[in-house]
Every structure is written in structure tokens, then in C-alpha cells.
């Protein structure tokens, strides 16, 4: 066993590193992050420029076929590129959904003309895409979509659709140019049967984006309202009524994208805090209760990192990874919340203050953010269901809505 690259991987890593050194600035402190702050237009501009450079150099989407601007490389090469890129001060995060989920769905369903038109601009960062799935009544239950799409004639007399409804939790909708959207086209059939997917310009008349302020204060998500939004039938992705199948394609890609929560404080900072905290009976780091918590979280942190290595090993060997990575968010999210809360306790009364104590803001952000991380992209409960059903082969929950027409559901 070892963590080393294969000769091919090593060569690629060397090549990537050389290119990055030539084109970007290396981070001084590996905690420093250039996280997308959605309210900084400058940052988006920089991100688009960087994305274009990557695309030109063939690093934008390594696993994509050459004809789409990829290099038909194996997933491990993609990972290696990202590992290396993470060491440089470059603006990331704007194109993951578009290139990771939307465009792959386009590739599966869109016409050659549309692919001709949309793939390249997306790859080069000229156009940003978002994914319009979740709705107020369709969270964990994605198929609970209520946004309607009805056949309609367009002003130009062509066949088209008119969309009415609301989406929610749409990341980046406020800076996106296009989106893929799932709609209900037939309420008279069971919920999974009546869905159809489209893509559309976010500039289409009737589309309105409103940011959602989170408990953490941030606003990475949006509500998107659709009022008589008319689009041509040519923007349909897949057959009418087969939107669920198309959505699964997208969500599968999402699952592949799920990784570790990057950045953030962890056991190192907690130990630092425990060393610097002076309890009545001495430094907190000597307190066995503190030590046992540090040990538990270290074991989890290491366990997740090493689990990720097992997945990478499979990729490196050209195998499909096992289900082990399904544990990552189940462990990481509560750990984030609990460690944040515990760190605040260590700080004493000042633990509630935004400044004063080193790392205070950071650990407070974990305590708040962890509450959100336990929900976003699959709640703790849904993820346990998934593990039980897909990994352990246990029965799905009883579905009372399976064969009932959507409009008959209470």
C-alpha cells in the first residue's frame, strides 16, 4: 500500500504543476481560500478568465471527450488536477454545477445543434449554468415538483411551452445565463410520470431571481419565480413525461461531484485552542474530557480522508469506487456542528463573540454552517435511507404516493 502516483499519474501531476506555476499564484497558507463570494462581480470576471485559460490548456474538463474540449482522460487525472489547483489562489466554484451536472445532461438529451452552441461557451466560462430542480414542496422528495409547463403556441407561431411556478435553493441563479429545469407537464399521472425537463435562458421574460438569506447570513441560494415563461419545444430535454429519468442522470452526476467539505477549521485548530485555553485545573489540552473529544473527531477526520483515498485508489485502478464515500457527509456535517459548539464552550463566555478569541468566528461559522450542511444536498435522514437501501439492500420506505395521480395527492 502507498499513496503514490502511478508513473502516468506522476507525469500528469508534474505537467499540471508546471502549467499552474506558470499561470497562477501558489497559496502561502493552505487554509487561505478564494471562495466564491456571490456578491463580487470582479470575482466572477476573474473566474471566467481563469476558466477560459484552463479550457484553452485542456484542463477544464479532463474526462470529457476531445470533441467537447476535454481530453478523454480518466477520472483520477481530473482529481489530480483539482488536488493541484487547490494549492493555487484561483477563483473556483462558479462552473461546477454547469459543467458537472447541466452540460452532461445536455450531452445526454440535447440536439447536436444545441450542443454545438452551448458546450463550448460553458466550458470556457463565457456562460454560467444553474440547475432548477428543488421547490418549496419538493425538497427531499424531488419528484414533488409543482412548477407547471403547458403546451402553448409561441408568438412566432411555433410549438412551445409556457412555464409557471417557483423553484428554490438554486445556487448561482443570480449570475447564471442558462438553467436546466424540471417541470410537471401532466398532473393526471403519478408523480414520477408527469415530469418533463427543459433548458432555458435565465434572461427569458418572466424569470425572476430572488436571493435567499441564510441563517449564516450568507446568500448562496436563490428563489426563482416563473410567470408565463414561454420557451420553444426545441428546448425540451428528453421525451415528454420522461423528466424524472433525465433528472436522475443529473443527480447521479451530482452524487459523483459530492466530496469533502473543503477549508474549514478542524482538529488542528481545536488542539491549538485547547492548548491556549487555561481551565481552572490547567490547560484544556490536559483535560481528559477534551482529549477524548479531540481523539473522536481526529478518528473521524482521518477516517473520511482515508475513505476518500480508497475511492481514489479505485479510480486510479480504473475500477468503479465502492459505496464507502456515501458516509462522508453523514459524518462530516454533525462533526462540523458539534465541534463548533464544543470549541465555543472551550472559549468560555467570550465564545459567543465574533471577534476576541482566535478562531472564534471560524468555529462559530462551523456551528451555524454545520446546521445547514446537515440539510443541504440530502439531509442526514435521507442519506441514511440511501445507505440502508443502496448499500445494505434494505427495503424502501412505504410509498403511499406511488401510483396515485399527482393531482389526487392530498
Amino acid at each position: 500500500m502507498d499513496f503514490n502516483d502511478t508513473p502516468e499519474e506522476a507525469a500528469f501531476r508534474k505537467e499540471v504543476r508546471a502549467w499552474l506555476d506558470a499561470n497562477a499564484t501558489r497559496k502561502s497558507d493552505d487554509k487561505a481560500s478564494f471562495r466564491a463570494r456571490n456578491d463580487d462581480p470582479e470575482l466572477l470576471k476573474k473566474a471566467k478568465a481563469w476558466q477560459d485559460m484552463k479550457a484553452k490548456a485542456g484542463y477544464a474538463r479532463i474526462t470529457w471527450p476531445k470533441e467537447y474540449g476535454g481530453r478523454g482522460g480518466s477520472p483520477i487525472l481530473q482529481v489530480i488536477y483539482q488536488q493541484e489547483e487547490a494549492n493555487y489562489l484561483v477563483p473556483l466554484g462558479f462552473f461546477d454545477i454547469g459543467l458537472g451536472m447541466c452540460i452532461p445532461t445536455m450531452m445526454a438529451y440535447a440536439s447536436p445543434e444545441h450542443l454545438q452552441r452551448y458546450v463550448k461557451p460553458a466550458l470556457h466560462g463565457d456562460e454560467v449554468w444553474c440547475q432548477l430542480f428543488s421547490e418549496p414542496a419538493a425538497g427531499s422528495d424531488v419528484a414533488g415538483i409543482r412548477t407547471r409547463a403547458e403546451r402553448a403556441k409561441l408568438p412566432d407561431g411555433g410549438d412551445g411551452w409556457v412555464i409557471n411556478g417557483q423553484k428554490v435553493w438554486t445556487s448561482g441563479a443570480h449570475y447564471s445565463d442558462y438553467g436546466i429545469i424540471i417541470t410537471r407537464t401532466d398532473p393526471n399521472v403519478p408523480k414520477h410520470a408527469g415530469l418533463t425537463m427543459f433548458f432555458l435562458s435565465m434572461k427569458t421574460p418572466g424569470v425572476e431571481v430572488r436571493p435567499i438569506k441564510q441563517m449564516s447570513g450568507g446568500a448562496n441560494f436563490n428563489e426563482v419565480f416563473f410567470t408565463d415563461v414561454r420557451i420553444p419545444d426545441s428546448q425540451r430535454l428528453g421525451k415528454v413525461g420522461e423528466g424524472w429519468k433525465a433528472a436522475l442522470t443529473t443527480l447521479m452526476n451530482e452524487r459523483l461531484a459530492v466530496g469533502m467539505p473543503s477549508g474549514g477549521l478542524d482538529v488542528d485548530e481545536l488542539m491549538e485552542l485547547a492548548r491556549d485555553t487555561d481551565l481552572e485545573d490547567g490547560p484544556a489540552i490536559r483535560n481528559q474530557q477534551v482529549r477524548s473529544k479531540i481523539a473522536d473527531w481526529y478518528v473521524q477526520q482521518q477516517g473520511l480522508k482515508l475513505t476518500r483515498y480508497r475511492t481514489l485508489t479505485a479510480l486510479s485502478k480504473g475500477q468503479t469506487p465502492g459505496p464507502e464515500s456515501s458516509i462522508i457527509k453523514i459524518v462530516a456535517a454533525p462533526k462540523m456542528q458539534d465541534m463548533g459548539a464544543f470549541a465555543m464552550e472551550l472559549m468560555g463566555p467570550a465564545g459567543i463573540m465574533k471577534e476576541e478569541v482566535p478562531h472564534a468566528a471560524g468555529f462559530q461559522a462551523q456551528w451555524i454552517g454545520g446546521a445547514g450542511f446537515r440539510i443541504a444536498g440530502g439531509t442526514d435522514e435521507i442519506l441514511r435511507n440511501i445507505v440502508a437501501e443502496r448499500v445494505l439492500g434494505m427495503p424502501a420506505d412505504v410509498r403511499v404516493d406511488k401510483d396515485v395521480p399527482f393531482n389526487k395527492l392530498k
Partner: protein, 374 residues
Amino acid sequence: MNFDFSDDQKLLKEQLRKFLTDKCPTKVVRRVLDGNETHADEVWKGLVDLGVPATGIPEEYGGLGLSPLELCVIAEEVGRAAAPVPFDTSVVLATEALKLAGSDAQKKKWLSELAAGKAIGTLAIAEGPQPPKPRGIRTTFGGGRLNGKKVPVADGEAATFAVVLANTGGQGDRAVSLVLVDLTQAAVSKKRVETIDPARKHAELTFKDANAEFLGAEGEGWRTLERLYDAAAVYFAFAQVGGAEAAMWMARDYALQRQAFGRAIGSYQAIKHKLADCYVKLELARSNAYYGAMMLTDGGADLPLAAAAARIAATDAYDFASKENIQTHGGIGFTWEADTQFHYRRARVMALALGGPMAWKDKLVSRLEQKNAA
């Protein structure tokens, strides 16, 4: 066996709940959270009119001279509403400090002003980073002059006086004393500090040769503080029980109404058992809090142990209920518009205010050792 509140006390509780449901709905908490007010003054005035600050103050000092039990049921309702008022600071900490250590003159002046709602008091112990310890206190008091900086001080801006822990030059635990200082004098400056719970404003207090006087004997500060915290732990426990119960029912109501996969999410065991666990922790906390109340009332010898148990159980119940309330709500529960955040923030502030669970667990076992040795 009479281990319950009296009908009169339950009536008082009902009255408080009606008042707060009516005058202090969550939109009031949100107003303070989003705004600049130090606290919801109209709610505070209403509580004063109801005699809340006067409840535990002896009649000779203009109070109602009611028992701790009355204050406990009030605390539970204030906690349930997560009311943005200086209750735990002024009605609990400052008032109890005066009752414990105040001279007759001090009681005459301050307790009657508190009872009349003319004064708001607070307690100022922490000095920034590090859990407070006798040897760590840098604020000094001597020759009637108080100098130093205290932060964070809950309701520091609203308060008209403070009980301050200051170094008075003794050895070990006797190095510190409690000092009473009028905050309206020019020698005191106040600065708001940002915390995780903007609905509960905190401040930094700076003293430059401020006029002050001993509260209790010199060098007794740390001992008095320990006794003060035991009493406060019980009242806080009731407030935490109230908050935990509110969060639990908020989650339960949402779970009944929110549909997923064709049925209420409240019909899934993951949610049902989560809320059942909330209830279990809540009842453990309530029972321990009741015993704390009983020990407070007849000055029971078991108070130190009962207070620690109540504190630990109530902190656990509130932390758990407030965090799983968000989880039960899902995405909507994590938005700024959601009312779930009030209890999540308040739970953490209350958990740290008198020292966290770790410290109280250590205290509890020490007291258990003493008891068994006795």
C-alpha cells in the same frame, strides 16, 4: 408527596404565557435581532407592570416577596418566548447578587429600584478570552475606584448598574471581590459587541476610575459568585426548559404539516424518534429543574448538587431540541426568515453564560463526592 407547582403558581404561569404570546411573538424577537434596540422595551415595561422584577424581592424593599417557585415558572415562560429582555441579567443575576451579598443600604436603594423597574442590573465577570478564574481577573478595585474592561456583558447597554468581579489584591480565590457600580456615570463607557445572538445584545464595559463599592465582604467574590451561579443555574434551567419545549413543539407542528413522498414527514420514524428523544431530554431536565426549585425554596442543603444536575440536563435538552428543530424543518429552517434560529442562538448563549456543561459536570461530581463523604 407534593413535587409540583401549586395551582396559583400554574395560574401565574398561564398569565405570563398569555402576556408573552400576545406581546412577545417571534416577530418581536426578530425585530431586536435585525434592529438596533438593546432589548424589546415595550415587552420589558409590560413585565415590569406585571411585577416580574419585583417577584423575588422582599416586601421591605418594595418587592412582592414571593418564593423562588414563582420566579421559576416566570423564567420558563420567558425562555419559551426567547424574549429579548434583560430577565436573566437583571431579574435573576443582579437581583440574586444583591439578595445574597448586599448590605441593607444597598438593598434599600437597588432592590427597590429594581422592583419598581427603575433600574436594570447585570453581572460583569468575563474579560474577553479565557474562562474566568480568580487569578485571571485584571479589572481592579481600590480606594473606591474601579478600573478595567469587562466583555462580553449581557444587556451591558440597557443596564443602569452592574455587579462586577474585580481584583482587590488578596491571595488565590480571595484575590477577587464583587463590586457594585453605577453605569450611568461618565467614568463608564459602553461599546456594543457582536455575538452569535443579535437578539440578545452584549456590550464591552470600560471603567476608568469609576466610583464603586464592595458588594459583600472583600475577598469573598469568588465564593459568592459560586453561590450566585447555583441559584441562577436553577432559574436558567427553567428558561432553558421553556425554550426546549417551544423548539420541540415548533418542530412537531411543522412535521405534521410538511409533506414528503405523499405523507407528513412526522409519520417517518426518523422524525418521530428524534422528537421522542427531545421529549425524553425535556422531561429529565424538567424533573431535575423542579428539584432545583425545591432546594432553592427551603434553602435546601442539596442545592449545589440539584443546581448542577438541573443545569446539565436543561442545557442538553435545549441544545438538542433547538438544533433538531432546524433539522426537522429542512432547508426552510436554515433561512434567515425562519424562527428556528432564535432558539438555536439562545440555547448556545445560555449554555455558555454560567459556564459550559463540562465545567458543571466537574462541579456536580465534586459535590457528589462531598455529599458521599459527609
